[in-house]
Symmetry: C2
Subunit: 555 residues, 2 copies
């Protein structure tokens, strides 16, 4: 038995916030039986991944060991935890376990991709446990900004591991189970080998606030509003959506849900019984005949997404509804770093319409779904693990979390994606470094982040693109002049002649003087033409474009 | 005289934060003599302006009236106020007036673009006034985050206008003149027709803090640091750079300035005498022989700019200096919305090196350079203008500023770029709407933001690019098969064959069946080939690429 080991291997989510995917293994080295905790996505941006639809973790390591994978356990239904299950189902094939609400969302994703829905198995909360090879896994209820978020209690021959999932310590979360310190103490009392723990808010030094605190403030705001009220939050924050809807109802307003994700989440919450009471909802069509001061719209797009309901309402009509002077728009949400521009764009468009915008800067209308530093420390104290393994954070979060743990006398380790940690010994050690990375869902295909495809797009965006066409006859002599097309480049440069004319003249001159050997050699000719085109563009317009050379030979 | 009027026309900076350019005119309609206040730039981003070097206001309206332009007055040396003077000098030609420090920076820009430095005239502070047609313009000292920022007192036949420039109310600004409420009361006592006023921080409800408050905190932080200390702030915030340097000196550290802008600004501040005392600076080479715990680097790149010193230090060695475990990196700056990703990237790279990062989130190490709402209201009260015209803000800022003014019983108007406001009457009225926009400096040429050039780049980045080459013989029959090149697209799609092969096969089939009329018509043929290529790509890889078709005819 001494040759067997317990390993932890993040393939995503450690060293970044997004696309969570954590492997646990137990057994002899290279023969461990494996489970995967969460399989999420992260979102592309124009800076680093233009044109990409979704970013998935690179799970090559796991695909190659799919025969050893006993199951996939999903802690909660946020996209960065469940978003990739359907995209990798064909490669991994293992059963997917989740609680009822999360399973409902996961099944919707499986259906969309044409996979069998019954690959997702619904499990109950702790004390139920699911056997998965050497592991026995239970879902321990935990509060977060989505119903039914759970920590996982992972019992292994090397002891108990608790994987916190995303969490906050909220004893009055509105919807979903409250944090239950006694239950947590109970499951921890016989000793916990490792607590693998959410690091998101480790830099926030005050204790977190409860979801219940925003209710009265939102109610006051909505009660005082004159025109139509629109509120946006994460659709998956069902408790918040409920709070908003109830504030609307109390102010005598009919509730409209706008945006696919908003309707989908509320539907799932109703179907699975996690929601409890929710005010009656009217359709956008019905809303047309209700006075605007009696309406409250709950809409998607709190992060400024261009296609979401909030952006569409800010630009103009959406589903027959239109904002007007004196309306109120509430962002009951935090802007995730990187999304500021999109959110600010919407705020300004609303301002142009005379709509009053309220955001969370006052601290009244939003609370975070993640544990702040004192809360993290409180959980450490309750669980009292032998080792704290920070996860769900950028490098700076993991490092700070490890520091905090060590300052409190606990062992810790900064384990980023690809670092396989052996948790069997007295201290955590790095067993191996695994190559990890990102896979892009691009249209309907998966491509590697380092395949050069997206790099070429970025280069075309930065530098523009010149296409050169050259035709050579049977004797490898140029047939006519070379032809240039430009895309994304200024049409005229310093010489005041069209850029394509200058390019064609310079290339033509080169071809006329080129020796037969150069003209016979496709690669050499291509390189030479590229070099000339780039030089000419540099002197004409001060840019070195990307160049594609098409050489056609008549032989 | 009743047919003459006083106009205000923002060409940049109103409805955005950046590229300030405000026109004032006086005279008969369409014959006004004009002055321009500030001529700045704004910075491109990958989302909206990939590959662009700088964004300049579109000053076409002013170019067409250059014969009526009496002068350009620069309030201060920030890039969004002075950055475009040299780029438009050839078109506008008017004399440029600025105080000594600002003039020094402006002259550097003129020199870089090969313009005569003496086009920039140095003027003294109020009560000196410069005659410019019907205007008499004085520079009234005002505190801001750069030395020598000034409001402009613009005397016109229709009364006095005060253009605030960027400002805060700081009576202890460290470097530069303090805000002098008595002087402001004095210049306002005979009545001010309009206060054209900075709106940046109108949403911040507490009074602004003085520059002097950060000194002791920075000193404490630096004194307690063990390894090397690196601090970044805007290079132009000379007061802060001085505070940082003095904190370093008091802690027994030698000061190194890294980054061109940092050295340029301190040099200008020394040359023009605005700086006063500054600790002795050592070169990066000298620093090599000083123990790291005796070093303090002041570096550019507080906004995460990839090429700046901070980013380079975060990645590796820079000028022979390298960060190590236990060093301290201070962001004595605020992250401008949109720059979060770049700043966070650096923070994580520093974390990987074991460097401790401190930012302004504690509120201890940075204060804003702009007036908060109570400060704005205080200035309104001192100046007591007939009209408040909010400027230097996005639409939401201008609207809020106008609201605040009206709530306090003052007339106001939300005037965005292109709205010409008549300030002669009892109430401000919109005289005309002028077409405005953005000009891109792209490499060495200026292009219009709406020319379609940058739009094509964005499309290539989002959709990839297919190049189709077809050769037709003398009878307009295809000569060989069509040829495809792809850039920025997955190489293989759902059929598992190379995408180019599938494209070529589909295009070839079309060409074989095409009727002679289609083959003779370049435009029709191009459209058809594009459509097929997009359809094929859509079914193979789920993307509709940009397509360039090159048709070569042998006739």
């Amino acid at each position: 038995m001494s040759s067997e080991r317990l390993i932890y291997l993040p393939l995503g989510g450690a060293g970044e916030i997004g696309m969570n995917a954590y492997v646990y293994g137990y057994g002899a080295p290279d023969h461990e039986r494996l489970i995967l905790v969460d399989l999420g996505v992260t979102f592309p941006d124009m800076d680093g991944s233009p044109g990409v639809d979704l970013i998935l973790p690179d799970v090559t390591w796991l695909k190659e060991r799919a025969d050893r994978l006993e199951g996939i356990f999903i802690t909660h239904a946020h996209e960065d935890h469940v978003g990739a299950v359907a995209h990798f189902y064909g490669d991994l094939g293992a059963p997917i376990y989740a609680r009822v609400f999360t399973a409902n969302i996961a099944r919707g994703k499986m259906e969309e991709q044409g996979h069998p829905e019954d690959a997702v198995q619904t499990v109950s909360a702790w004390p139920e446990q699911t056997e998965a090879g050497p592991f026995s896994v239970g879902f321990l209820p935990m509060s977060h900004s989505i119903p039914e978020s759970s920590a996982l209690i992972i019992d292994t021959p090397a002891g108990r591991v608790i994987h916190s999932g995303d969490f906050k310590l909220d004893e009055t979360p509105g919807v979903g189970e409250p944090f239950d310190p006694e239950l947590w103490a109970e499951v921890s009392k016989d000793g916990v080998r490792a607590l693998v723990c959410d690091s998101t808010n480790v830099f926030t030094r005050h204790p977190g606030r409860s979801e219940v605190e925003v209710g009265p403030e939102i109610e006051k705001l909505v009660a005082g509003a004159g025109g139509m009220v629109v509120a946006t939050t994460f659709a998956s924050n069902v408790a918040r959506v409920k709070t908003l809807a109830e504030a609307g109802e109390r102010a005598g307003r009919s509730i409209v849900l706008l945006g696919r994700a908003m309707r989908r989440m509320i539907e799932a919450a109703v179907e699975t019984g996690v929601l409890g009471y929710f005010p009656r909802v009217v359709s956008p069509e019905e809303a047309g005949s209700i006075p605007r001061e009696n309406l409250m719209l709950l809409v998607t797009g709190s992060q400024g997404e261009r296609r979401a309901a909030s952006a569409q309402l800010a630009r103009g009509k959406y589903m027959g509804l239109e904002l007007a002077e004196g309306d109120l728009f509430l962002f009951s949400s935090k802007t995730i770093p990187g999304n500021e521009r999109g959110v600010i764009r919407i705020m300004n468009q609303l301002s142009e319409k005379g709509v009053d915008v309220v955001d969370e800067s006052s601290g009244l209308y939003h609370v975070s779904g993640h544990a702040n530093r004192p809360d993290i420390e409180r959980l450490h104290a309750i669980v009292n693990p032998q080792i704290v393994v920070p996860m769900h954070g950028e490098h700076r979060h993991l490092r700070e979390h490890a520091k905090v743990s060590e300052q409190n006398g606990r062992q810790s380790v900064v384990a980023v994606n690809g670092m396989m940690i052996d948790l069997s010994g007295n201290a955590p050690t790095v067993a191996e470094y695994i190559e990890t990375g990102r896979t892009y869902l691009d249209g309907s295909v998966q491509i590697g982040a380092l395949d050069g495809i997206v790099r070429d797009r970025i280069r075309m965006a930065l530098n523009g693109h010149v296409v050169i066409t050259v035709i050579l006859d049977e004797e490898d002599e140029p047939l006519g002049d070379p032809w240039c097309d430009i895309k994304g480049l200024a049409e005229t440069g310093t010489s005041n002649a069209p850029l394509v004319d200058v390019l064609e003249a310079d290339l033509s001159q080169f071809l006329m003087r080129a020796n037969p050997k150069t003209l016979r050699d496709d690669d050499g000719l291509e390189d030479a033409l590229k070099r000339i085109a780039r030089q000419t563009a540099q002197s004409e317009i001060g840019k070195k474009p990307e160049v594609t050379v098409v050489i056609s030979r008549m032989r």
